[in-house]
């Protein structure tokens, strides 16, 4: 066996090694054609996947809208959203909703969800079908308040459901002067 033969095998390793360290390893020169073929195959598949993603997303959009229209027709639809503004004085754990005395939602927030609220996300916590007329909404917020104390506060509002979809916002804000959180329910402006 010749030394050169072994060295030639080592050289192939060397070529594989000579790559930008942050980047993908490049195959040896003699494998360039195979790599190009593989890249072509990858790209063709990737384009298929991209196309499928687009179509499935469009289908999901249609299904999402169908589901909403079917389960919550616009005439009777009421959506309840939770939002937070700043959130220095309150860490949200859960929200409990009662409409006309009947409990309709009891939502427990994960850390990730609560974080998303603090950063400006708005959570649709409940959707309901309600008749036209007056309804009473009671929301109870549970979490950690100032000085890391357990905190439980309620807010009540009577709202009128007319014809057409209605959006109610349950907003948690900071009252800086009192260093306390404030809980408000209002119709989406």
């Amino acid at each position: 066996m010749s030394k050169r033969l072994l060295i030639s095998l080592v050289v192939s390793m060397l070529l594989a090694l000579n790559v930008p360290s942050i980047a993908q390893e490049t195959a040896p020169m003699d494998a360039a054609a195979a790599e190009a073929e593989s890249r072509g195959e990858f790209r063709s598949l990737d384009e298929d996947v991209q196309d499928l993603k687009k179509q499935v997303l469009d289908l999901n959009r249609d299904l999402f809208l169908l589901e909403e229209e079917l389960l919550f027709p616009a005439n009777s639809q009421v959506a309840f959203f939770i939002s937070m503004d700043v959130g220095e004085y309150f860490e949200l754990d859960s929200v409990n909703l009662k409409i006309d005395g009947k409990e309709v939602a009891n939502y427990l927030y994960t850390e990730r969800e609560a974080g998303a609220l603090v950063r400006g996300g708005v959570h649709r916590v409940h959707m309901a079908n309600l008749k036209t007329g007056d309804h009473e909404l009671i929301a109870v917020f549970t979490g950690t308040g100032p000085h890391v104390r357990d905190y439980r506060r309620g807010a009540t509002v009577t709202f009128n459901k007319g014809i057409g979809a209605k959006y109610m916002e349950l907003e948690i804000t900071d009252r800086v002067k009192k260093q306390q959180p404030e809980f408000e329910i209002k119709e989406w402006e």
């Binding site: 066996m1 030394k3 072994l6 060295i7 095998l9 080592v10 050289v11 390793m13 090694l17 000579n18 930008p20 360290s21 942050i22 980047a23 993908q24 390893e25 490049t26 890249r39 195959e41 990858f42 790209r43 598949l45 990737d46 298929d48 996947v49 991209q50 499928l52 993603k53 687009k54 179509q55 499935v56 997303l57 469009d58 289908l59 999901n60 959009r61 299904l63 999402f64 809208l65 169908l66 589901e67 229209e69 079917l70 959203f81 939002s83 503004d85 700043v86 990730r112 969800e113 974080g115 998303a116 950063r119 400006g120 996300g121 708005v122 959570h123 649709r124 959006y167 916002e169 402006e189």
Partner: protein, 622 residues
């Protein structure tokens, strides 16, 4: 409502997520007001990095024109979401359209940068180059450096070494990126045949004092590259120094030890060469350097005239290669069965999607050791991402299929209930003569007007009062009262008194009664108007409901086949993607096997030569 959400901040977060952990949006531009709850809802999912549901909600809200207050921001956000989800072609379409407009230049550059990066990883070389060429000078420093590195990589990959060298030689500073740039410069110089110049660069890099693991690894890599370059250039003694600078326990140590051995062997110092090669004997046979050392050791022993020991080592090598080939065959079978890809995803909750996902750990098992290095390749990782995304899509379509089945049932039940109730409602509506009621109300208004005008206080008497009035009138006409007797006069006076009292009371209460009756009639009128409105709604509903049922039915039943077709396509593409990943993995294993086959042939050939030599020596001795 006020929220600390800014689309610029959001996009910046999106576009730096791959580089550094997401940071709070504290120093961004002024906050904007979330004016559409549906926009806020998209942000809720976006901030959780749940890109798929965020995109679906954004598309749905756009379709329903629910984002009127955030039209431009929503489009930019959609582009960013597409990009994060790895839906890069759609993202590019949006950005190409939007970035031509008046978009913040930093956002524009960040976007082109990340598109270039994704495209390079996914093998869209021309697109990647085009994106890099679109950059202006508004990237933050760290991203700008990475962009330069991407550009040099593109040059090197396409064989434009001179351009790569020119770009990398301009690199200034002593940052971590500068070290990477230096390494790449060395690579470009070696590949363009400027070994001496490369040696200077790599030597400098190989002697650096690293302050983190990445730089330590880079230093090892530079030393290894330099050592082998010198070996190849016929400078074995010079090659030893950089090779000996490589850490003994790092990922490049096996190759370095092998190289040090070859440097000694090149100057025919086989005894010294055996030292690093013997060290390799106990290491993982998966490494090609270890495999090669199993042939190098007997080669050196033979050179040192230890023929018997050399033969033993060749036999050991043949046996070890045989076992390794068997294990590789077993692994190939396992990969071809497809089970391994199920295992990849078995512990993956699929709760996050997107381009930033990477498989860090392989499922445990004897096969894992053969595939670890695959994880470092973009082709495999990106292929795996696609496989995972397709799996997610399949799962998503599965869930919708169940839901759509339920919706079809729900719709049929509703339609049946509607059809059952309809005749009863129609009969009730027919009984309720609303027009007649309105006429009666109008007649009543007119009657009240007459009563008021004629001051007909008796018309507003209660039933009892009216009866009393009748009784009094009856008594007045009693014949006995006309008899000319004192008692008759007395009774007549009493009757007149009663009549007067009653009349006085009726006249006194007349206005009050009229007001109350008018109030009641007005309320009745209002109720009638409300009833008429309800009636119109019922009529509208009765007219529209069949159309609505028809529309919903056609959508539900139309989406069913669309879902089936899509699921089939996703299933097919999933199989293709799996097959592609299998071909990469199996190809890699076949290459390993092929190398072992070559080594086995070499070992057998060398062994045969030793036996021949021994036989010749024996015969000569006889």
């Amino acid at each position: 409502m006020r929220h600390r959400s800014s689309i610029v901040v959001a996009l910046c977060l999106l576009l730096i997520a791959a580089v550094q952990p997401v940071q709070a949006a504290k120093d961004g531009p002024d906050p904007i007001v979330v004016k559409d709850p549906h926009y806020g809802e998209v942000l809720f999912y976006f901030y959780q990095e749940d890109y798929f549901p965020a995109i679906v909600r954004l598309l749905a809200a756009q379709d329903q024109s629910r984002l009127d207050e955030h039209l431009d921001q929503a489009e930019l956000l959609l582009g960013g979401l597409f990009l994060s989800y790895g839906h890069h072609l759609e993202a590019a379409k949006i950005f190409e359209r939007l970035l031509a407009d008046n978009v913040d230049t930093e956002i524009r550059d960040r976007t082109w940068f990340f598109l270039a990066k994704i495209w390079l990883q996914r093998g869209y070389i021309d697109e990647s180059q085009k994106a890099l060429s679109s950059l202006s000078d508004n990237l933050p420093e760290n991203l700008w450096r990475e962009a330069q590195m991407l550009q040099s990589q593109l040059y090197i990959n396409s064989g434009q070494y001179d351009r790569a060298i020119a770009l990398l030689q301009e690199w200034k500073g002593k940052t971590e990126w500068a070290s990477y740039a230096k390494f790449n410069l060395g690579v470009a110089l070696v590949r363009s045949g400027h070994v001496d110049a490369a040696a200077l660069i790599l030597d400098e890099l190989g002697d650096l004092n690293p302050f983190n693991d990445e730089l330590t690894s880079l230093r090892d890599k530079a030393n290894l590259a330099l050592g082998y370059s010198l070996l190849q250039d016929g400078q074995p003694l010079a090659a030893k120094e950089p090779l000996q600078r490589v850490r003994l326990e790092g990922p490049f140590s096996n190759k370095a030890l092998l190289g040090v051995g070859w440097a000694d062997a090149e100057v025919e110092n086989y005894r010294r060469a055996l030292v690093p090669w013997m060290e390799l004997r106990g290491r993982d046979l998966l490494d090609s350097a270890v495999q090669e050392s199993m042939l190098a050791i007997p080669y050196a022993l033979a050179k040192l005239d230890s023929i018997s020991q050399a033969a033993d080592h060749y036999l050991n090598a043949i046996e070890a290669f045989y076992e390794e080939i068997n294990r590789i065959d077993h692994t190939i079978g396992f990969i071809e069965s497809g089970e391994i890809f199920e295992e990849f995803l078995a512990d993956d909750p699929l709760d996050s999607t997107g381009w930033y996902w990477r498989l860090e750990e392989l499922p445990e098992g004897p096969e894992a050791r053969y595939l670890y290095h695959l994880l470092a390749t973009h082709e495999f990782q990106e292929g795996l991402k696609n496989y995972r995304d397709l799996y997610y899509l399949h799962d998503n379509l599965d869930q919708w299929q169940e839901s759509v089945g339920v919706y079809a049932n729900m719709l049929e039940t509703r339609l049946q209930a509607y059809n059952e109730r309809l005749p009863r409602v129609e009969a009730a509506l027919a009984r309720a003569d609303l027009d007649g009621m309105v006429d009666r109300k109008l007649e009543f208004d007119s009657l009240l007007n007459d009563i008021e005008q004629s001051n007909d206080w008796l018309a507003l008497a209660t039933k009892r009062e009216f009866e009393m009035w009748g009784e009094i009138a009856g008594l007045e006409n009693t014949p006995a009262l006309v008899a000319n007797i004192p008692e008759a006069d007395e009774v007549s006076d009493k009757i007149l008194l009663l009549k007067g009292v009653l009349q006085w009371r009726l006249e006194r209460d007349f206005k009050d009664r009229l007001w109350r009756i008018r109030r009641d009639v007005r309320k009745t009128g209002e109720a009638l108007v409300e009833t008429q409105r309800s009636r119109r709604q019922i009529d509208d509903t009765m007219r529209n409901e069949p159309l609505r049922f028809e529309d919903l039915s056609s959508r539900v039943y139309g989406l069913g086949p669309r879902l089936d077709g899509m699921k089939l396509r996703v299933g097919e593409t999933l199989a293709e993607q799996r097959s592609f990943l299998q071909s990469i993995a199996v190809g890699e294993l076949q290459a390993q096997k092929q190398r072992l086959d070559i080594y086995t042939v070499q070992a057998r050939f060398a062994l045969a030569a030793i036996y021949d030599l021994a036989a010749t020596v024996g015969e000569a001795g006889e």
